[in-house]
């Protein structure tokens, strides 16, 4: 029996009251809120008010001894150099400045739209070295890989967030064009046949980046006014970031000083 007898009588009385009004039972189930969607799109950069970020990357500590790159396993590589070639990671200039540091606007520029440039970034393999050693590229921008060496290379980026690939390029083979879909700082690139070869690619969402030159300085141009977090990356001592404020048409300075030991 489904219903105890005592309830029958009571039930009959109640029935009258209930007649006609059907009772909907909602079981106790949570209703999750619909998250509001982020508005897409952004503000275009006004070149009239854009400023720049400039600075210098230095290393404060004893100059590291650079390893010599032994290319003797491939005579083609050896022939391209008349003097010993040193590793580029950890290089410090006489005045303590650091070349090949990658400096980019890490935070603060998301509200602007930066279409990926149509011109490609070129990575050359010359003398069994990558030229340039450190480069920046925007998400969706073309990386144009060429070889100036009469030997076979393979280009093997080892990303964490982008798909990994490893492409052979024989002498005289056509250039290889690739794109990266997701921002990632940095993607190391190696050649499995010439294990000393190393490049680093910084894939970023905006064109606000620069690589320090031989003098250890950098300039990031076309920065709309605002507050930013700028990060400097080095292959040997890891990363540092700092906040900068760029005023309309102004120049903000961001200097970075690395110390020994703080490596990644």
């Amino acid at each position: 029996m489904k219903i105890p007898r005592a309830l029958w009588v009571a039930g009959m009385a109640v029935t009258l009251l209930l007649a006609g009004c059907s009772k909907k039972q909602e079981t106790a189930e949570e209703t999750s809120a619909v998250p509001s969607e982020q508005p897409a799109g952004g503000t275009p950069v006004d070149p009239a008010t854009a400023g720049e970020i400039t600075g210098k990357v230095t290393f404060n500590g004893p100059k590291p001894k650079l390893a010599v790159l032994h290319m003797d396993q491939d005579p083609v590589c050896v022939q391209k150099h008349s003097s010993p070639v040193y590793a580029e990671d950890g290089e410090v200039n006489g005045n303590g400045t650091v070349p090949n540091a990658f400096v980019y606007v890490k935070e603060g520029a998301d509200k602007y739209t930066f279409p990926a440039p149509t011109e490609a970034v070129t990575l050359d393999q010359n003398g069994c070295l990558y030229k340039p050693h450190v480069l920046g590229i925007m998400v969706g921008q073309t990386l144009h890989i060429i070889s100036s060496d009469p030997t076979t290379h393979n280009i093997h980026p080892l990303p964490k967030n982008n798909p990994e690939w490893n492409q052979s390029q024989a002498p005289g083979a056509p250039p290889i064009d690739k794109k990266f879909a997701r921002p990632e700082v940095m993607i190391p690139v190696k050649c499995n046949q010439h294990p000393w070869m190393r490049a680093y690619i910084g894939v970023v969402k905006n064109p606000l980046y620069a690589v320090t030159g031989e003098d250890g300085t950098f300039t990031i141009k076309g920065v709309p006014p605002g507050d930013y977090t700028v990060e400097a990356w080095t292959a040997t001592w890891g990363t540092q970031d700092q906040k900068v404020a760029v005023s309309p048409k102004g120049t903000a300075t961001a200097d970075f000083t690395f110390k020994p030991g703080a490596g990644t």
């Binding site: 489904k2 039930g11 009959m12 009385a13 029935t15 009258l16 209930l18 007649a19 059907s22 009772k23 909907k24 039972q25 079981t27 189930e29 949570e30 209703t31 999750s32 619909v34 001894k65 650079l66 390893a67 010599v68 032994h70 003797d72 396993q73 491939d74 005579p75 083609v76 050896v78 010993p84 040193y86 009469p150 030997t151 076979t152 393979n154 280009i155 093997h156 080892l158 798909p163 990994e164 690939w165 490893n166 492409q167 052979s168 390029q169 024989a170 002498p171 005289g172 083979a173 290889i176 190391p188 190696k190 499995n192 046949q193 294990p195 190393r198």
Partner: protein, 1079 residues
């Protein structure tokens, strides 16, 4: 006297109308109520169904425009448009021809229509007349023949269009003409159809391409499909939805309320206004493997499938219903799918890995790893001891049978000798021969069994270390500290804490110490701890062993955490252990039931040598136990490297071992007997080898079907009331509480000494007070997670009511996969290797393998191993990964890796299972019959040589060739291994695009490009390639399979310049270094 008024007749004077009215009213009300109940009260699922129709329709209507927009976007895409234009253009181009064909076809149809009737009538008549001609004779035959001839002359008249000018004419023909006309028309019609098909084929192919493009880019359903769903939903009957498989006892009405479960579109609770009951199944893949029409719902989910009266009853969550619904854990917990996955176990007992059930899979692993299997029997786990016993018994039976047969030979021979006549004698002698043959058969069977026993002995492992070795291995003072609470010394240890009291602990320690073998190991010179650390971190030790505790731990979990190893262990012993962990101090004879000594060998004039090649007892010929029962493999390290690693490990300590309090009682002989009794009581021999306990069985209850044990039989002791009040009066509640604090079921019980519950503590509160009573909630999250995993496993461990065909008991290659996973898990192969791309090995997560160079040092992925290697080669490699009897301090394939494949001393039983596992994982047929490759012509050999030695071909830069000066840079195996090791098909796929097989491999893609249907080398080719029409990848593959050492030498000679330059430059290096230092 007043006139007597007659007594009033109650029947006439009293009215019952009031009562009747009330009754009538009540009756009406009851009817109303009954009707209400019928439509609303008793059928809750009707409300659900009406609600579903409303919400689902609304949801679908919201979806439709989105999908329409998506469709439009795809159709507007340039690729689609281009295809569409191609279709249109092509269609247009064939149109005139098509129209012509259609016109012709119409004409033929008209003409056929006119002729067909005439012809079929005439044909029937002719056929009939021929039959008469055939079945008559004499004059009637002739008469029929005459009639036939006359009929055939016709004339047959019909009006039909002419195919030439399309005009209608009356034609008159004889029968033969009529027939030929009919047949030719039919043939023409067929021909036209074929031509039309050919004309339209490119169009339909292009259309298929267009459809394929659309399908490829369209995610989800099309608008039309959604409209179909809307129509279907609108037309849905309000009725019970039921899956009925009477032969399996499945009657599931769950879908009467869970209406969205099988819908082809993903439905979330949010889509349905928060109504979780209507969501679609979260794992449609699972439904594809388990067709709901066959499996229903309850075999996986439990609950009461027939009930539709209330949610509670349908879910089986009321008293006495034996299979309540399996629940998910808290969705925020790591093991969110917990408990629900228990449902997989009843059919998947043989599977160690279930891709869709990570919690259950973890529980299965834990049952082995935690050592539950040491005390509790569970089908399939640790089967070797039982198989050994069975084999021993069979041996005894055979010995008995043999003795009988031998006696019978003598008897029959004697009877023959004394037989009265030759005939009888011959019969007896024949009988004697039968017995002789039987004896031989028994001997052969005995040999087989002995081999099997040897193999089983090799595969038999113990969860814990061999306690016969403690005198050589351990510092004595450390033993009581460990026994008191292993977790205090090593938080992640799998050794549980036995609740030994003040008296018991010294006794156990003393027994263990005194029962151990008294051996003295050779003293080892001290190694170099710095080199040892480098070896430890590069040889692969960390795939199993971690150093550091908690968040600082670096390395795997499978083996012991070595953070404090230096506090407990003896250096000399550690060196021997690292050099070969399988080495024993003394062999054990299961027949004599004792450890043998050098004297046993001396007696028989034999050297004291015992290993897998010398495994017979010198006294009685029985198979000895010659190996340690550990899964730890032999890394084939040199003695020096073993010393270095041991020296490093000895530095790992948190406190000075000298600070341990002395334990002189270890040598007190009076404690031994008591200790022995306690060791037996707690079943220590379940996990450890202990002298005198070799044949000890498991002390715990079998758990294979523990999940279906009646609740009343689970020992809740004094907690029944509380469990019912607090809602854990269930199997799950019992398992969880028992695992969290096993002794809780002794609380309040009056028990004699030694009668307490024996199950030790596997989980404890962190830094908690162990004298306090703790509960599940006091345990750290990792412990709670492990308990959830084990509980899931136990919940699912039921004796199933479903027929065998519901179980996952394959007999094809899937069985090989099932069997193989047990071995893979047993030896933690996944510590180093990836078997599927979604499973990371332990090594892959270590810091030293994160850098670009480090990644190149990882062991090979085994995702296509079965397709890659020849199974016979694999069997050889697994048995001897050095691929050499003498030169063992190396890896047989990848000599360039610091890591190396260790020797596991798999028995042939396990080797076979592993080989079959790999072949099955890659759907490779067994046995493997190598395909015959076309031999290279002399031109092809010249071409291959030229290509291999040209500057454009990078092969020899990375692949080892056996020259030390070259191989120091090698990052890939020697090609000489290919012919023996690899399968040609795989090699071809590999060289064309290795990233399709092993994403991230050092081997580059793009070595070949397609050109006119063949693959050609993607770079400058030597002149000898001029005019060669063959496939270059195929040529190289065939060359690799023909490569001989002499040919490789030839290649090296030809490369000459490059290789010699390498060697020469190698000499120059110090000079260059010197200059570098000056910079």
């Amino acid at each position: 006297m007043p006139p007597e008024s007659p007594e009033r007749d109650p029947v006439t004077s009293q009215s019952l109308s009031g009562l009747l009215l009330i009754s009538a009213l009540l009756l009406v009300l009851t009817l109303g109520w009954a009707l209400y109940d019928e439509f609303y009260g008793l059928r809750p699922w009707k409300d659900y169904q009406r609600d579903f129709v409303v919400r689902y329709t609304a949801f679908l209507r919201r979806q439709k425009p989105k999908q329409e927009a998506a469709e439009r976007a795809i159709k507007a895409s340039p690729e689609y448009q281009a295809l569409q234009q191609q279709v249109d253009a092509l269609q247009k181009s064939v149109e005139p021809e098509l129209r012509k064909l259609d016109e012709q076809s119409a004409l033929i149809d008209q003409r056929l229509a006119a002729i067909t009737g005439k012809y079929t009538d005439a044909h029937a008549r002719v056929t009939y007349m021929i039959w008469e001609v055939e079945h008559n004779s004499g004059s009637s035959k002739r008469s029929w023949q005459a009639d036939l001839d006359k009929f055939k002359k016709g004339p047959f008249r019909f009006e039909a269009v002419s195919l030439e000018d399309g005009r209608v004419r009356t034609e008159s023909v004889d029968y033969d003409r009529l027939e030929s006309e009919f047949k030719s028309l039919q043939a023409k019609k067929g021909e036209l159809l074929v031509r039309k098909g050919e004309l339209l084929r490119p169009v339909s192919e292009l259309k298929a391409k267009l459809d394929a493009y659309f399908k490829e880019h369209m995610t989800g359903l099309t608008a039309a499909q959604i409209q179909g769903l809307i129509d279907k939903t609108q037309a849905m009957d309000i009725a019970i939805k039921q899956i009925n498989n009477p032969d399996a006892g499945i009657v599931d009405r769950c879908e009467s309320c869970h209406l969205g479960i099988r819908e082809p579109i993903e439905i979330t609770a949010r889509d349905m206004g928060g109504r979780r009951v209507f969501v679609s199944h979260p794992d449609p893949e699972l439904l594809k493997i388990h067709d709901p029409e066959k499996f229903g719902c309850t075999p996986c989910h439990n609950g009461n499938g027939m009930q539709v009266d209330s949610v509670k009853q349908a879910h089986g969550e009321y008293e006495h219903w034996l299979t309540p619904l399996y629940h998910k854990a808290d969705p925020r917990a790591k093991s969110a799918g917990a408990y629900m996955e228990a449902g997989c176990q009843q059919c998947h007992t043989n599977d160690m890995v279930l891709a869709h059930a990570p919690v259950l899979t973890a529980g299965k692993d834990l049952f082995q790893w935690r050592g539950c299997v040491g005390c509790h029997r569970y089908q399939n786990y640790d089967p070797e001891p039982e198989e050994l016993t069975a084999a021993q018994q069979k041996l005894q039976q055979l010995a008995q049978q043999r003795a009988e047969d031998v006696a019978n030979i003598a008897k029959a021979t004697q009877a023959g000798d004394n037989a009265p006549d030759n005939e009888t004698a011959r019969q007896f002698y024949a009988q004697a021969n039968e017995y002789r043959l039987a004896v031989t058969n028994i001997d052969l069977q005995t040999d087989q069994l002995n081999t099997r026993i040897k193999f089983l002995q090799m595969d038999r492992k113990k969860v814990g270390p061999d306690l016969k070795e403690v005198r050589a291995k351990l510092r004595p003072e450390w033993i009581p500290v460990w026994l008191k609470n292993p977790h205090a010394f090593r938080p992640t240890t799998r050794m549980p804490r036995f609740r030994l009291d003040e008296d018991e602990l010294p006794a156990v320690a003393a027994f263990i110490w005194q029962s151990a073998l008294d051996v003295k190991l050779p003293s080892q010179p001290m190694g170099d701890p710095v080199k040892g650390k480098a070896s430890f971190e590069s040889r692969g030790c960390q795939a199993c062993h971690a150093i550091g505790e908690g968040a600082n731990a670096v390395g795997g979990w499978f083996g012991a955490n070595l953070t404090r190893i230096g506090e407990k262990v003896d250096y000399d012993y550690l060196v021997r252990w690292i050099h070969n962990p399988r080495e024993r101090s003394a062999p054990y004879c299961p027949f004599e039931k004792r450890d043998l000594t050098p004297a046993d060998y001396q007696k028989h004039g034999l050297p004291y040598v015992f290993d897998l090649d010398h495994s017979k007892c010198p006294n009685d010929g029985h198979e000895l136990v010659v190996e340690q029962m550990t899964v730890m493999p032999n890394l084939r390290l040199s003695w020096q490297e073993s010393r270095d690693i041991a020296a490093y490990l000895m530095t790992l300590k948190q406190k000075d071992p000298a600070s341990y309090p002395p334990a002189p009682y270890l040598n007190d002989p009076q404690l031994k007997a008591k200790g022995e009794e306690i060791v037996r009581r707690y079943g220590c021999a379940g996990c450890h080898e202990i002298a005198g306990f070799e044949d000890e069985g498991r002390i715990g209850t079998e758990l294979t079907t523990e999940g279906s044990k009646p609740l009343e039989q689970l020992d809740f002791a004094l907690y029944i009331g509380q469990a019912k009040r607090e809602g854990w009066w269930s199997h799950r509640g019992f398992f969880e509480h028992k695992l969290a604090r096993p002794e809780m079921f002794d609380d309040g019980m009056v028990k004699a000494e030694g009668e307490e519950l024996k199950m030790p503590n596997f989980f404890e509160p962190q830094n908690g007070d162990l004298t306090k009573k703790w509960g599940l909630q006091d345990l750290p999250p990792e412990s709670r997670e492990q308990i959830a995993q084990l509980t899931t496993f136990l919940l699912g461990s039921v004796s199933s009511q479903y027929p065998a065909r519901y179980f996952d008991l394959p007999e094809d290659q899937r069985k090989d996969i099932q069997d193989g996973w047990w071995i893979v898990k047993k030896y933690n192969c996944m510590g180093c290797h990836q078997f599927t791309l979604d499973q990371d090995s332990v090594l892959m997560t270590l810091p030293q393998y994160q850098t670009p160079d480090g990644k190149g040092q990882l062991p090979p992925r085994l995702v296509t191993e079965g397709a890659r290697v020849n199974p016979e080669w694999l069997a050889r490699f697994l048995a001897n990964p050095a691929l050499s009897e003498k030169d063992t301090d190396r890896d047989g394939v990848r000599s360039y890796l610091k890591l190396r494949m260790p020797t596991f001393y798999f028995s042939p039983i396990e080797v076979r299972k592993l080989v079959r596992f790999f072949q099955a994982m890659s759907q490779q047929p067994m046995p493997y019959i190598p395909q015959k490759l076309e031999p290279l012509t002399s031109r092809e050999i010249a071409m291959a040589r030229a290509l291999f030695t040209s500057k454009g071909a990078p092969c020899l830069k990375c692949h080892a060739v056996g020259l030390p000066a070259h191989d120091q840079y090698a990052t890939a195996p020697n090609f000489l291994l290919a012919a023996d090791r690899l399968k040609p098909d795989w090699v071809k796929h590999w060289i064309l695009d290795p990233a399709m097989i092993d994403p991230g491999t050092a081997m580059p893609s793009g070595l070949f490009r397609q050109e006119g249907g063949r693959w050609v080398f993607n770079g400058p080719t030597p002149p000898v390639f001029q005019g060669y029409e063959g496939d270059h990848a195929d040529l190289l593959m065939r060359y690799l399979f023909e490569l001989t050492p002499a040919e490789q030498q030839q290649l090296i000679r030809m490369t000459g310049a490059g290789m010699n330059a390498t060697a020469a430059k190698a000499q120059l290096r110090p000079a260059v270094r010197g200059r570098a230092a000056g910079r």
